[in-house]
Symmetry: C2
Subunit: 334 residues, 2 copies
């Protein structure tokens, strides 16, 4: 059905079902001037918002509507995770071009609802408007964090270990593969493409690492080089990482061989991994890394350490050659 | 300066100043993965979001960037006011076409900051991305409301009075005037155009009316007819209003004469007034209307009453002829 046949209120009726996962915390959900929620006692409120624009952040010929919905929500959950918080409520704004159908919008919401169900996030409101050009999706998430678990970018201390969750570079390689015609015939490509299309936010690991005493944390949205530089600047420290410690999936190993690329390109500059990078004292790392693996199957890898002089981020290659690494290519207005 | 010359982080540096109005409640503001705020004790959290799209909601040849910033924030504050709440924190997402300059964005923020200063709202975060087409502005506001002050759409009871703040129809007439070439020469046009370009959210009145026992409330964004029908449906009641009680400014009287329009067209269907319409017991209305006028200069006008049978909204004309009034023309996808 076409959007103009159902109108804004008809569309809201189509998407309203299954938006509440934790009814106890929702006083007013979709359908009034604003949503009203009950904060948990003694928690700080964590707020984040991300806008995805057709032609800039996604291409409707490369992703299905439910994948896009999943991703738009996931990138926000990842920001909450990077503060040590737990996501609770979401608001969804959509600017919809007339060429899209109601089925498209229902599927988009389906993707959001699926990941919201998994992380017990309520979709409590939003705005749905027309767009004369492309599709625009803006998601806002309200989360909560215990005051003692709050982790900022600015707390890294000299001597801390630097560590990451999962493996890096998958999403960027997945995007390159997705643009090739025959990627579906290559089994190694599937998990990489999946990492790009439907990233998993590391909410449980983030909370766990935060409560174990992480001193700083970022989610890896703009590439490891960029995130580490942000931590180094905010904390006024230097960071040294080791090329041969950077965790890489076996699928990425195959992909770089087939694509004739350097793995470090994807790992350092690829972006959109939505893994977490954090700093933490050595004994705390040892405790938390075992717990993370056994409790929720997330591998934590030490990739380096925080050093004294505030001289940015240094990569130590396997031949002990060192190299300064800077953020690269993330001027979104170019 | 052009956006591509400063980049996303350069732009954030340009707009970061003067974003915090109430530092006590902000733990982490602009510049980390997410913002962190301290909720007030025993308050419910109120959440709303609104997306404004170039070519749909605004025309850059008709409004200045600061006016647009003001309005994008004001419409969200109005939604918080309609719940009886007080706005506290805002997130701002912008999708910026390359043709816009950094000055444009700074001015847009200036308009948001001015209204935020007045209402003590912190801008704690956001997202700034590129747009291949038009400008898109999404603002999310987190407010707070005392549980006993929360007012929904659904609480109107038979016998309640129906009342509004201020005067109605100004913004819609202002939009019509703004599209005429010589409007600036007519003094009566100025306040009407201002009502369209920079609406004032009725935050103080909303809180006051809520604490005085309003049983239902909406802000008038889609026209009085639409808002009253929403209250009638949500509360399962009928509403009767009287044409000769609807409050109209003297400027609107002149405008309808000059534009050769019917005043009721603007008053009932115009939209974007951002006044409040509410239902309340008669004795409570008498108390609150005197206080509203003397404490913050807002005139409350009784326009009708809640009636028993759930038969929508009835307008009683001055000749006692009655007419059913329905929402009109707000299918945003047509």
């Amino acid at each position: 059905m076409e959007l103009k046949d159902v109108g804004e209120f008809g569309l809201i009726d189509l998407i309203k079902a299954d938006t509440i996962q934790d009814a106890n915390s929702v006083v007013v959900g979709i359908g009034d001037d604003a949503a009203v929620v009950l904060p948990s006692p003694k928690q700080l409120q964590v707020l984040t918002t991300d806008m995805l624009v057709e032609g800039i952040h996604f291409d409707l010929s490369l992703s299905l509507p439910w994948q896009l919905g999943h991703k738009a929500m996931a990138v926000n959950l990842s920001d909450i995770a990077a503060m040590g918080g737990v996501p609770r409520h979401a608001l969804v704004s959509l600017a919809l071009p007339q060429r899209l159908t109601t089925d498209f919008v229902v599927d988009l919401y389906q993707g959001m609802k699926e990941i919201c169900r998994e992380f017990r996030v309520n979709i409590v409101g939003g705005d749905t408007v027309a767009s004369p050009d492309g599709l625009v999706i803006n998601v806002t998430v309200l989360g909560e964090v215990e005051p003692r678990n709050l982790v900022r970018r600015s707390g890294a201390r000299v001597g801390d270990w630097v560590a990451v969750t999962g493996t890096l570079g998958n999403a960027a390689a997945g995007l390159d593969l997705l643009q090739m015609e025959d990627w579906e015939e290559e089994p190694f490509a599937w998990p990489l493409v999946k990492a790009h299309l439907t990233p998993r936010p590391q909410v449980a690991a983030g909370k766990h690492v935060a409560s174990a005493g992480a001193t700083s944390m970022n989610d890896i949205s703009d590439g490891l080089a960029s995130e580490l530089n942000e931590i180094a600047v905010a904390s006024n420290v230097g960071i040294r990482i080791y090329a041969d410690r950077l965790p890489v999936s076996s699928e990425l190993d195959i992909a770089v061989y087939k694509l004739d690329k350097l793995p470090l390109e994807y790992v350092l500059y690829g972006g959109e991994d939505y893994e977490l990078v954090f700093t933490i004292r050595e004994p705390n790392f040892n405790l938390v890394s075992q717990a993370a693996l056994s409790n929720f199957g997330v591998k934590l890898t030490r990739i380096g350490e925080v050093v004294g002089d505030a001289t940015g981020v240094t990569l130590v290659h396997s031949d002990e050659r060192t190299e300064k690494i800077s953020p690269r290519g993330y001027n979104h207005f170019r």
